[in-house]
Amino acid sequence: MSLKSRFSSPRIRFIAIATSSLLAIASFAVPNAAQAASVFKVATSAAVTTWDPIQSFSTEAFYMTNIYEPLLWKNPDGVSPEYSPALATSWSASKDGKTWTFKLRAGATFHDGSPVNSAAVKASLESSKKVGGAGFIWDALKTVDTPSDDTVVINLSYAAPMDLIASSTYGAYIVNPKALDAVAKDAKYYESGKDGGSGPYTISSYKAGSSVVLTAYAKHWAATKPAYSTIDISIVSDGITAQQMMTSGQVDWATNIPLTSMTSLKRNNKYSVIKYKSPFNYVGYFNTLRAPLNNPKVRQALSMALNYREITAVGGQGYATQARGPVPAGIYPYDPNTPQYKMARAKAKSLLASAGVKDLTIKITYASENSAEARFVPLIKDAFEAIGVKAEVQGILFNQQWAAAKKDPANAQDLFIVKYWPTYSDAGVDNLWSLFHSSAKPFFNLSYWKNAAYDKLIDQATELSGSDKDAAQKLYSQAMVILYNEAPGLYLYDEAQVSVVPKKFSIPKYNINYPFSAFFAGVKLS
């Protein structure tokens, strides 16, 4: 058969056309453009709820810590000293813990060149207390004195750990007074991506929900200038997409890679998979307003039904440890001696019987956008069913879960699963207070639980934590034992932070005190 007659066969022609089409597509592929040397490209899921540093109370902290600075930075757990100077170079507290003096850094300027002085600090702290998203952290603040341009004296109504508060990831940024004035006149002042910070980077462009570009601030006070003058950040909500972007070289680093991908990335010699303690903790609130969940015996029984090892393994994919109450390990006032529930289903059944419980059905709600919750909540259902308690699981958006829980508590869910983290590194004034302290109208206490002894311990500890941290710890520990005995919630697990770091780069270590943040000024080639 001649070559010509071979190609006149329709089947051969079809295969030839298909093959050449594929080759044509392949030849169309061109290598990626050479990377601009001073641009570091990042993919992250961190959305921007607001660019207002005073109002900021969400995932925009990822960017904020590069644009704004507090008086102090808190170092990770176990690192000495506990704080690093930011806009304050030294600080001291009076003996009673009610007066704090901060000496400001000479030469620090805002991005418009105006100096960071005591007037700016006073205006920022007062604004944070008055209208801030995390304004409650300044509850103890009475007055701010400015004896000189470089000295700030903070007077408190009760002793509070001002070094800790002044290094908070929310509500503690020092903002240019001009920006504070501008936003007072126009509430939308910041929304196009303006900033009033003094940090190592400034916002050079912002496309809502799509990208943020940060440019290094040339007059920043730090002696070492950032290795990358431009940080180009793509906002990518889907973790798998972010991973594809990093592994295909479109971005240098992705911060939101799913835990389920870690095993394969560990095998890839281009990346290091690093595990850190995080402030994230999974809790389930029992609805204590409803019978029989208003009976602690029933709540204890349900707590004993769970297979914590399985929940931790499936939810945290090997990057989690069973929680000891609602305070995550690594965050004050975590106590390694706080008792934990262990799976004891026979005992759980007998507790239910002694409480006279029959035919109990529990409605569980969880945030469907949280993939870890979607993984482990079915295990809670199975565990309850193993002790004869039926469970109905409802995965809904967190917005809806939250609204339903607050609308009519008595008829709301029986068990509300939530991922929680403290506003700043004090889970006493936050987690223990916010999650379980009684309040007239429930805000984050969605177990609607009220316990006078617990409230008293927490109130005392909160006031003591500014002047006597150890004494406060003892009270917090007692309060956590009450939480264990009374079981208003299920204490599930502490989630680890897992960072996938390309070996090509040196990226600053994760800091548990700034859980949503990345500090780009420290990024460089390995």
Binding site: R11, I25, F28, N32, G133, A208, G209, S248, L397, F443
Partner: protein, 337 residues
């Protein structure tokens, strides 16, 4: 004129219905828009203050009429999550989506009809079987899954194409596109920025193939079935009896008569692609209204959801109108009906 008037009034009715249903649904589902606006840790006092600012404390019918009035005035409100005006968000993102849809529908038309015709010509043969498998796969594979597969193979394994995005990130530093019409690929062509054009086309291939898969499958099956039906008609037999060539019969007589239903399906497919972009844009991190829609749905950003629904409804209406116009060109009786 009368036909046009009728078309316009029914279009307005459809838009009114779509806005009413979306608005009502957005309001009756239990959710707290203040969470999307000021973050999950916002205090109760802040949330209450915001509800007043956003007018959420007003009765629902009053809120709806206010919304309608503002929409007609061109004020579509602000996105709760991005804080930007909805109209501006849509204006910024729609060109990227329209470019993607244009390429997807072009892919689907060219390959769908060509392979449909080819399959009809080789009915029951090997080629027909291969094309059938491709068509069924295109119709039945979920877009997000197909997209991930293509991404893993062609971007991850083979590195033939970029995994995501409309252009390389470096492009905005090396070869920035001058904005003329707002359509980035088109702007790159008219400004002679061919580096950006090729880069954009390179990025376009995988998302466009993913988005076109369903329409491709539908069109190829439709083209094949119609052609085979027409080829068995009496007038084709008569043409054969008169000794006309097979090529002439196939392409001049049969294909032309097979076109009207294909045009209808193409129109419907194009309209389907508007919502099809939701998944595809999410997978490929495409900066269009599809990814904006997904993020808005996840954060229950109801002003954005309303705006996107209106745009999708307008898209459907315009596409149907264009389909009718083309149909009337092919067969003038359609318009009269």
């Amino acid at each position: 004129m009368k036909v046009l008037r009728n078309r316009l009034s029914s279009a307005l009715l459809v838009l009114f219905g779509a806005s009413l249903i979306t608005f009502t649904l957005a309001r009756i589902i239990p959710s707290d828009p203040s969470l999307a606006y000021i973050g999950p840790k916002a205090t109760a006092a802040d949330a209450a203050k915001l509800r007043i600012t956003l007018g959420l404390d007003q009765p629902i019918p009053g809120q709806y009429f206010k919304y309608l009035l503002q929409t007609f005035k061109g004020d579509w409100g602000y996105s709760l999550s991005t804080k930007q005006p909805i109209l501006q968000e849509i204006r910024d993102r729609l060109p990227a989506t329209l470019e993607l849809i244009f390429f997807a529908i072009t892919f689907a038309l060219i390959f769908g009809i060509a392979l449909g015709v080819y399959a009809a010509k080789y009915r029951g043969k090997f080629q027909d079987a291969v094309i059938r498998v491709l068509a069924i796969a295109g119709v039945s594979m979920p877009a997000f899954w197909f997209g991930l597969l293509l991404q893993m193979l062609f971007a991850g394994r083979l590195s033939w194409f970029p995994a995501t995005g409309q252009f390389d990130i470096e492009l905005k530093y090396d070869h920035p596109i001058t904005r003329i019409t707002g359509f980035p690929l088109f702007d790159s062509i008219i400004t002679g920025n061919y580096h950006a054009t090729f880069n954009g086309l390179h990025h376009m291939i995988l998302p466009a193939i993913t988005l076109s898969a369903y329409s491709f499958g539908l069109l190829s099956r439709m083209a094949r079935a119609n052609l085979l039906e027409i080829m068995s008609q009496d007038y084709v037999k008569v043409a054969r009896a008169y000794g006309l060539s097979e090529r002439l019969i196939f392409f001049k007589l049969a294909l032309r008569n097979a076109l009207p239903p294909i045009v209808t399906v193409t129109g419907l497919s194009a309209a389907y692609l508007i919502t099809g972009t939701f998944f595809v844009e999410q997978v490929y991190n495409w900066p269009g209204i599809g990814s904006f829609a997904v993020n808005s749905l996840l954060s229950i950003d109801y002003p954005a959801i309303m705006g996107i629904t209106l745009v999708a409804a307008i898209g459907y209406l315009v596409t149907n109108f264009i389909v009718d116009l083309i149909q009337s060109k092919i067969d003038p009786r359609v318009w009269m009906k």
